[in-house]
Amino acid sequence: MSDVKKKIKNIKIDLDKCNGCRACEMICSAFHANPKYSSNNPARSRIRLVRDPIRDVYLPVYAGEYASAECMGRDKYVIDGKEYGECSFCRASCPSRDAFKEPDSGLPLKCDMCEDLPPGEKPLCVQVCLNEALIYEEREEEAAEAEKPEDVEIGLSSLADKYGLQTVMETLARLSKKE
């Protein structure tokens, strides 16, 4: 096992600097339109501003992994006297809410860091945020390279999981006799 270098793309979100304009939502939906920029619709955006001016809640959140089920219990966070529901910070497209879903099809959306942009360009939400509430960072991390099990081994171990190792071995033995 050896260590490998991995590039981690990161967007730092400074809640105090957000002016609530939602340019990030607009440009995200425009960039991911087909053809590019041909339309925009913040409801299709992969970043959402959780916005509640009266309580001074301004919280940009990016779409992450799809979750097939909603959480069993939900918590609340109080930060600087402001109450945030747990879902406010959650990146999942999940059945409990309509965030991060295509408005027409309901299919889940996920931030791709604008991977179609030429290399070296920052994601567009960061580019349009002149108030610098969204700051792009890249860092390299050393990560242990996991040993890649062969495909056959993966297949066999899942069969073993399902039927038990003994059954798999017996089956293999029987198959080899037939050959």
Binding site: A33, N41, A43, D52, P53, I54, R55, L130
Partner: protein, 654 residues
């Protein structure tokens, strides 16, 4: 497919409870663009000039601008149009915020209300689903509070809501429509909404807004963003801080109020306090503002921060922008800014115009001092400056006692009160209260804008050209160096030659013709903004803005696919300008109404003023009475307007 616009209006008949989605004629977009332009066309076509503002036949039109909902930065304005109960002319008031883009995303360019609802209602628009809902439980609720209550009862945290408060419900002539940090405040539009018994409109949209030539359009938007960033790093030297940058006047950001407090008038636009801004006041006011202000905020898709969230101990949070923090403070002669923020909270919930309302109150207390109003009118009113303003505000929005008279604004109240009260309603243009500004020497450019502005509101016309000359040639040369915004090179020379004193200074310089040119340019930019729904704060209002006459045609053509260049855009502006003028002429506007408050400048020049007005009318293709000629109208595809004016005997059939 329609580009930039949706191509559909919502037609709501409140009397019958009928809702229709109506496709619009794309040819009208080419002629009038949208926003204020198409609103004016609808008002001309569908509301006869005899219609009373509070008649069911009056329309109340909520419109997006043509570019609202596109990626164009700052294209977020809602333009609300109707006949004003105060001026009786065409009233249009505009607000930023998030309402117009949301309406576009819901699939509509405009909401057109006609008739009158039998009971208080609110409208809920969720894409194709549009409902008229009962609002009995919201009666008397605050305008900010109502927005929250509706979002909660619909379980729609992302819905945008525009609402009226008690003032609108009671048809106070200075009633506003409030929406987040923004409001349509001027000219009593909220009173018409209340008269139609509409408490609020809530909208949520999740549809696409399309562009004709997206790559080209987005490039233009990127240029604008880059320009804003650079321009913000380079404030214009030699002008006051609130005018040095972009956006609407940065009253929430800046705490230095020396200029306003010492140059604007206190009370009923009477008293200048030239030594007000002491170190002690400055420290105290800074502390108050920074404590009250939780965050600086913007409208949809705009990097500026013209508004603020205001949270004061013991009262609910609200949002504010621009000048309102000072209007109540100064009208009431209160030296504590904390009062300004606190009374504005109540006023915002009531939903009243922060310019006119404080002046009405100052006017009333002046009448009391003069013995024209009596102690009986003010029975129960506290003695202290703060207390008496709160007391009177409560009476006005409830139309109780003397408040019922004052709720009609200074002009109509003075008429009703009589006994010489008219002389105290001294700060009006076309029956509408103006900025409390009293100056020395006549400025010919401002004279023309005050006189001829269809809205009777100076900040909706000015911009582009500096308000005063720069003292040295060096400063002037420095200013014109990167002044790419001028429609023609000659404007640079106008500025270079403009002196503080001597022959080439106010009132005779800029000359009559130059003044007309400058006003025409300033007006043009406002009319284009108001049709496109782009905020004046990024365009017509500040010096050296990101949008101007040279890049606008490209924005319009790449967004919509309509062929556009500077000449065509100028023609659209002239068309909209003349149509608005014709609407007001048909409502009875006369040359004699076109004058600033008599005491606006100490030094007046009647002969020069007549010349200015003559030249302006001539330049516009209007006759001596300020009425567009048949030829002018026909050239602008407004033959139908000429025909109507002819039939009414307003223009000659020759």
């Amino acid at each position: 497919m329609r580009y930039a616009e949706t191509g559909f209006n919502l037609e709501i008949d409140l009397s019958r409870g009928n809702i229709e989605r109506v496709e619009t004629d794309p040819r009208l977009t080419e002629l009038y663009l949208g926003g204020l332009g198409t609103n004016a066309k609808i008002l001309w076509d569908r509301v006869s000039p005899e219609t009373e503002p509070f008649s069911p036949d009056n329309l109340l039109i909520f419109s997006t601008g043509l570019l609202c909902g596109t990626p164009a930065p700052g294209a977020n304005r809602t333009i609300v149009t109707t006949y004003s109960p105060q001026t009786l002319l065409m009233g249009y008031s505009m607000m930023g915020g998030f309402f117009a883009p949301e309406l576009k995303y819901a699939g509509y360019d405009k909401i057109i209300f006609r008739g009158k609802s039998p009971k208080l209602i609110y409208l809920w628009i969720h894409n194709d689903k549009v409902e008229i809902r009962d609002a009995a439980h919201l009666q008397g609720r605050g305008a900010v509070e109502t927005q929250e209550l509706i979002r909660r009862e619909l379980n729609q945290p992302n819905a945008q809501v525009a609402a009226i408060g008690l003032a609108g419900e009671n048809r106070v002539y200075t009633a506003s429509i409030e929406q987040g940090r923004s409001s349509c405040s001027r000219l009593g539009i909220g009173a018409v909404m209340g008269d139609k018994r509409i408490k609020a409109i809530a909208v949520r949209g999740t549809k696409d807004v399309n562009l004709a030539r997206p790559e080209e359009f987005i490039e233009l938007c990127n240029d604008v963003l880059k320009y804003i960033k650079d321009r913000e790093d380079k404030p214009i030297p030699g002008v006051m801080p609130i005018l040095a940058g972009l956006g609407s006047p940065q009253e929430m950001k800046h705490v230095d109020e020396k200029w306003h407090t010492e140059n604007f008038s206190w009370g009923n636009s009477r008293v200048r306090r030239k030594d007000f801004w002491t170190k002690e006041v400055e420290d105290k006011w800074r502390e108050t503002q920074l404590k009250a202000r939780t965050r600086l905020i913007s409208c949809y898709n705009c990097p500026m921060k013209c508004g603020a969230i205001i949270s004061l101990e013991g009262m609910s949070t609200y949002m504010m922008k621009c000048f309102t923090k000072l209007t109540y403070t100064m009208a009431a002669f209160v030296d504590d800014l904390d009062f300004g923020f606190r009374i504005a909270q109540r006023a915002t919930e009531y939903g009243v115009d922060g310019f006119s309302t404080p002046q009405i109150m100052a006017f009333a207390f002046e009448l009391k001092e003069a013995g024209i109003l009596t102690d009986a009118d003010f029975a129960g009113c506290p003695e202290d400056n703060e207390g008496k303003f709160y007391w009177l505000l409560d009476r006005i929005v409830r139309r109780e006692g003397i408040g019922d008279v004052l709720a009609n604004g200074t002009h109509w109240a003075a008429q009703q009160i009589g006994k010489g009260a008219e002389a105290y309603a001294h700060n009006n243009i076309k029956k509408h209260e103006q900025l409390p500004l009293k100056l020395g020497m006549l400025n010919p450019v401002y004279f023309l804008m005050y006189c001829t502005g269809e809205k009777a509101n100076i900040t909706q016309i000015e911009g582009q050209f500096p308000q005063a000359p720069f003292p040295t040639m060096e400063e002037r040369e420095d200013f014109v160096k990167d002044w790419v915004h001028v429609p023609e090179e000659k404007f640079k020379q106008y500025l270079l030659d403009w002196e503080m004193r001597g022959e080439r200074s106010n009132p005779t310089y800029p000359t009559v013709d130059m003044s007309v040119d400058i006003v025409d340019w300033q007006e043009k930019m406002h009319y284009i903004d108001d049709a496109l729904g782009v905020c004046a704060g990024l365009s017509s209002f500040p010096l050296k803005p990101p949008y101007h006459i040279h890049n606008y045609p490209h924005f319009i053509s790449s967004a919509t696919g309509i062929e556009m260049d500077e000449a065509r855009l100028t023609e659209v502006y002239n068309r909209n300008r003349n149509l608005m003028r014709a609407i007001n002429i048909r409502r009875g506007l006369k040359r004699e109404d076109e004058k600033p408050p008599e005491d606006h400048w100490r030094k007046r020049f009647p002969e020069l003023e007549e010349k200015l007005l003559d030249a302006y009318y001539k330049f516009k293709g209007w006759n001596k009475d300020g009425i567009p000629t048949k030829e002018t109208l026909q050239k602008l595809n407004l033959g139908y307007v000429a025909e109507d004016l002819e039939q009414r005997g307003i223009i000659n059939n020759e």
